[in-house]
């Protein structure tokens, strides 16, 4: 077990929220086509409220802190907030589009000891990237910022979300990252909007593109292992918790709402009314999330993929049931292995029954 895995296991055993993700604002200077947020400010936390939240998170044991948005640098108090986070010795990861980062901002970010900066780049081609962000010149500004951050010696990762408008561009972005000497990560997950609107899902990459990605060793490592038929589920797999959401990690909105994860918008408390530690320990919603194991999932427990599926309880929640299947993950398991999930088989069977069954009301006519 790696040291990081040991730390996470210890945090889970002690009930410590070792990781927190705080979106400082939902406002943004880009209008990305696939974005799941509403950008109007509906009452963001003040600087003082955020400082208080930081104190509470540090007391609760949070070590890894993601600061994101919206675009976090749109907050006028961004650097005082970052200073406070670092003074409390959080390990800070910053997620940004970097459009507002110039030399001075890059230098300050380095001085404050940010551990890594993750920056969204959708394409190496300006017309595609700027077409997605709806901000002319955004790719140029983002790439310039990456140079500034790199020159400060900061660890930078380019995050490339895959969707229909940039389906063919991931190799180009990957080359761009290599040329710039930064890390690269590809994310094929398009999520519904936080308000439940699922229209964005039509932007998800089609099966044939996922198949190519899952067979690219530069992205998945050992392809044979990654795409291997699923192993039989043993007791350990069936009793495992699905992910860190609500177990060792949580998400906080700019409006002080606490969710299990940014991708799992289950309202579990609000820091304007409750203390963080009370929400973390006593929220019925978080307790419900913690009660989920693979063994008690109605459909997935009998699925051949149960031991290896990346099933996201948040995506399942947004589909209507946190204990149900996440169809995006069913799709990924199928594309990896060629073996349909229990959910896919059940849906196909239901469709067949609907086709085969005679209508309940039938009208027969005959003319003589």
């Amino acid at each position: 077990m790696s040291l990081m895995a040991e730390v996470n296991a210890k945090a889970q055993a002690l009930g410590v929220p070792i990781s927190a993700h705080l979106d400082l604002t939902y406002r943004c200077n880009e209008r990305c086509e696939h974005c799941y947020l509403e950008h109007d400010d509906k009452g963001e936390m003040t600087t003082a409220e955020i400082f208080d939240v930081f104190d509470q998170l540090a007391d609760a044991g949070v070590f890894f802190l993601v600061l994101s948005g919206g675009e976090p640098l749109l907050r006028r108090d961004f650097f005082p907030i970052l200073e406070r986070a670092r003074a409390l010795l959080f390990n800070v990861k910053l997620k940004t589009n970097a459009v507002l980062i110039r030399e001075a901002e890059a230098q300050r970010i380095r001085e404050l000891g940010v551990e890594q900066v993750q920056i969204s780049v959708y394409s190496h081609r300006p017309e595609v990237h700027d077409g997605i962000t709806k901000l002319p010149g955004s790719l140029k500004k983002t790439l310039r910022a990456i140079e500034f951050l790199k020159s400060q010696g900061l660890k930078v990762t380019i995050a490339n979300v895959l969707m229909r408008p940039n389906l063919l561009d991931s190799p180009g972005v990957q080359r761009l990252a290599a040329d710039m000497g930064v890390s690269y990560t590809l994310d094929p997950t398009i999520t519904p909007m936080m308000n439940g609107d699922t229209s964005l899902l039509s932007m998800r990459a089609p099966r044939e593109i996922l198949r190519e990605i899952f067979r690219d060793p530069s992205l998945v490592g050992n392809v044979e292992e990654f795409c291997a038929p699923p192993a039989a589920a043993d007791d350990d797999a069936l009793d495992a918790t699905p992910c860190s959401a609500g177990h060792t990690a949580c998400y906080i909105t700019p409006y002080a709402d606490v969710y299990p994860c940014v991708q799992f918008p289950l309202p579990s408390g609000n820091l304007r009314r409750q203390k963080f530690i009370d929400i973390w320990r006593n929220s019925p919603e978080l307790k419900d999330v913690r009660s989920i194991t693979a063994r008690n999932l109605p459909t997935c427990s009998s699925c051949t993929h149960v031991a290896s599926c990346s099933r996201c309880p948040g995506l399942a929640y947004m589909e209507g049931n946190m204990r149900g299947p996440s169809t995006a993950d069913c799709e990924k398991s199928f594309v990896r292995t060629g073996i349909p999930s229990a959910n896919m088989l059940a849906k196909a069977s239901a469709a067949t029954r609907r086709t085969a069954m005679p209508g309940l009301v039938q009208i027969r006519m005959a003319t003589t």
């Binding site: 040291l3 990081m4 040991e6 730390v7 210890k10 945090a11 002690l14 410590v16 070792i18 540090a58 007391d59 044991g61 949070v62 070590f63 670092r86 003074a87 409390l88 010795l89 959080f90 390990n91 800070v92 000891g113 940010v114 551990e115 890594q116 010696g153 660890k155």
Partner: protein
């Protein structure tokens, strides 16, 4: 004996987890865990208190250990952490610019 002063680097993250301290270097993302004794030394590394005082007042009073042996172990720990860039060591008191609150 030459005095040694120790201070935490400003380019680290740290948090107490149970009886251990987890520390990560922002320079190279290396993760460390410090045991209970090492955590006491880490928390006392204010740049102003000599290492010998830290060992005497913080370590020997808390743990049943011989002062000389404790100092040798503490010195080895300090040199190790300094080698990874997460602790500063000096023969003079060290003033740090970044306020740090260890929890």
């Amino acid at each position: 004996m030459n005095q040694k002063y120790i201070a935490r680097s400003s380019a680290i993250a740290a948090r107490k987890l149970g009886d251990e301290m987890i520390v990560m270097s922002a320079l190279n993302s290396t993760l460390f865990t410090l045991n209970e004794v090492a955590t006491v030394i880490w928390q006392a590394a204010d740049g102003q208190t000599p290492l010998s005082d830290i060992v005497q007042k913080a370590v020997c009073r808390e743990f049943d250990v011989q002062p000389e042996l404790a100092y040798q172990d503490a010195e080895a720990l300090v040199n190790d952490l300094a080698g990874h860039g997460i602790l500063l060591v000096s023969k003079q008191p060290i003033s740090t610019n970044v306020p740090q609150e260890t929890r």
